[in-house]
């Protein structure tokens, strides 16, 4: 498969990426680890976005959304 997407820079090293993969239980070759290293920068950028500052960050209003609480018809 061709891979043309440009690398996004990351502060994490290839060795650290290898540790993440090993910790998850996977055994990958070095070229495979290198490919995931190229993708990791995108993931790091997105990790910053889900931590964007917002008001009331410590409130229960931002508890994890494990389920939706849509109103039940016929109830108040």
């Amino acid at each position: 498969m061709s891979h043309t997407t440009p690398t996004v820079s990351t502060a994490v090293s290839k060795e650290e990426i290898a540790v993440f993969i090993k910790r998850a239980g996977f055994t990958l070759s070095q070229p495979e680890i290198d490919a995931y290293y190229e993708a990791y920068g995108y993931i790091e950028q997105m990790a910053a976005l889900i931590r964007a500052p917002a008001p009331n960050r410590m409130s229960y209003m931002v508890e994890p959304a494990h389920m939706f609480s849509f109103p039940v018809e016929g109830t108040k």
């Binding site: 891979h3 043309t4 993440f20 990958l28 995931y36 990791y40 976005l49 959304a65």
Partner: protein, 469 residues
């Protein structure tokens, strides 16, 4: 019009009037599969004997006591991650090549009870994610408008089979856009209903808290007819909503007059600028709605990137957990693209997952606030026409946000409706979304647009498909 190019509503009316035989309709669709599916690859399993038996039974039942539903005698297909009793459900994976379920998924059972004719199982990306892949048990579906192009996924077979006239309607599943993406690129209508409206019992999970089942068809009315049969409480799905199902047809044809439509302009004009044909489709839709008496408002929410980021971490973590044992046991059985998605699970920490779920709560509140002031929101379905099937980037789920994930994240219903064609003569689409459980308004808005435009009058020319194959 030939039998296999009818809409569900048209065929249903003819069947009820005794002017169309379900057996003849099914035979016409089977002939179309036989002639064209070698180039389109919409099916992984064609259940010809089952289809003819279903059709003969439907014909006899209708003759005896009339149709039991508008779907009685209508040929449909099911995405191949949906369990079907006694029929291979392989999920496009070497892991599942011997999986013959002992019972139907709830959604398959609901369509069977409505009297549909099961034509077979439809191509999917492996376990509903990661394609197009050329290293799975079956080849990926190709776009019937031009077989060199992608269908999007993961409900790719359903997206391809409907415009090709092989089925009149079908089921897809949608975790980040897998119904709406193929609908947009294949020029059909696809709705992701509200989370919990359609049972997921008996369907292979992709990412638990984002997974939805929904209908795909040539028209909005057809999707409404199918959803009517699918919606309802099911104790076998812990997320199933226990609430009455409204009549989706009651307000379908009441027009757009008075509808309040919010345009999410920043998403398609700034966050991910769409192709000119997609933009033209949106601009035209705004003009059409204005001419129909709708009230257009500009609305604004967070960047599309924020929705995409939360969706990425949640879907990646949930998928990796669901398939962890299979991945550790025999990773070589997965195709490369799906294996990528599972490997990404290594990079998601527990904090990432919880933070993404908290961000999701904020984004849900934000979108709920917007929808408190309008009836539907309008944005793009897909940023462009279908790409070439062999030019889809490996990291396509990382580098650019899509327009569909926000409504998986918020659980709100969303529908893609064709809005024109691009310079390559491939379809483009708008997307509409509404408040939770307000599918009726969504159908009303989408149907009004369809009726005011002519995009439902054009089908792909499959002779060209054959020539290109």
């Amino acid at each position: 019009m030939s039998k296999d190019m009818l809409t569900i509503a048209e065929a249903s009316g003819l069947i009820a009037a005794g002017k169309l035989s379900p057996v003849e309709l099914t035979e016409a669709c089977l002939a179309r599969v036989e002639t064209h599916d070698h180039a389109i690859h919409a099916f992984v399993t064609v259940t010809k004997e089952r289809a003819l038996a279903d059709a003969k039974r439907a014909e006899a039942e209708i003759k005896a006591s009339g149709p039991k539903s508008p779907l009685h005698g209508i040929p449909i297909g099911l995405k191949d991650i949906i369990d079907t009793k006694g029929i291979l459900t392989a999920c496009q994976s070497f892991h599942n090549l011997n999986n013959i379920p002992g019972s139907d998924a709830t959604c398959a059972e609901a369509l069977a009870k409505a009297g549909t004719v099961l034509m077979g199982k439809l191509t999917t990306h492996e376990f509903a994610d990661g394609g197009p892949s050329f290293d799975n048990p079956w080849p990926p579906s190709r776009n019937p408008w031009n077989t060199a192009h992608f269908t999007a996924g993961s409900s790719s077979g359903t997206g391809a089979a409907i415009p090709a006239g092989m089925i009149l309607g079908g089921l897809g599943t949608d975790t980040g856009g897998s119904i709406r993406g193929p609908a947009a690129l294949c020029g059909i209508v696809g709705i992701k209903p509200t989370y919990g409206l359609v049972s997921r019992a008996g369907v292979a999970p992709a990412a638990y808290s984002l997974d939805h089942i929904g209908p795909m068809a040539w028209t909005t009315e057809d999707c409404a007819l199918m959803l009517q049969a699918l919606a309802g409480y099911d104790p076998k799905d812990p997320a199933s909503a226990n609430r009455p199902v409204p009549d989706y047809l009651a307000s379908l044809k009441t027009g757009a007059k008075g509808l309040r439509i919010g345009v999410l302009r920043r998403w398609h004009e700034e966050d991910r600028k769409v192709a000119p044909a997609v933009q033209a489709g949106i601009d035209n839709a705004i003009k059409v709605y204005e001419s129909l008496g709708a009230e257009i408002q500009e609305v604004n929410v967070s960047s599309l990137k924020h929705y995409a980021a939360a969706g990425f971490f949640i879907s990646t973590a949930e998928r990796a957990a669901a398939y962890e044992a299979m991945m550790l046991d025999s990773p070589e059985k997965f195709g490369a693209r799906y294996r990528d998605r599972l490997i990404f699970g290594s990079f998601v920490t527990s904090m990432d997952y919880v933070q993404a779920m908290r961000r999701r709560r904020e984004l849900l509140a934000e979108m709920s606030g917007i929808l408190a002031g309008v009836d539907v929101v309008l944005t793009a379905g897909n940023p462009d026409e279908a790409p070439l099937i062999d030019k889809v980037p490996r990291w396509d789920n990382l580098d650019k946000p899509n327009f569909t994930m926000p409504f998986n994240l918020t659980g709100m219903p969303a529908i893609c409706v064709p809005s024109g064609f691009g310079p390559q003569a491939l379809p483009v689409s708008i997307q509409l979304a509404a408040k939770p459980f307000d599918e009726a308004t969504l159908f009303r808005a989408a149907h009004a647009f369809e009726e005011a435009t002519s995009f439902r009058d054009v089908r792909p020319v499959l002779a060209a498909v054959q020539a290109a194959a």
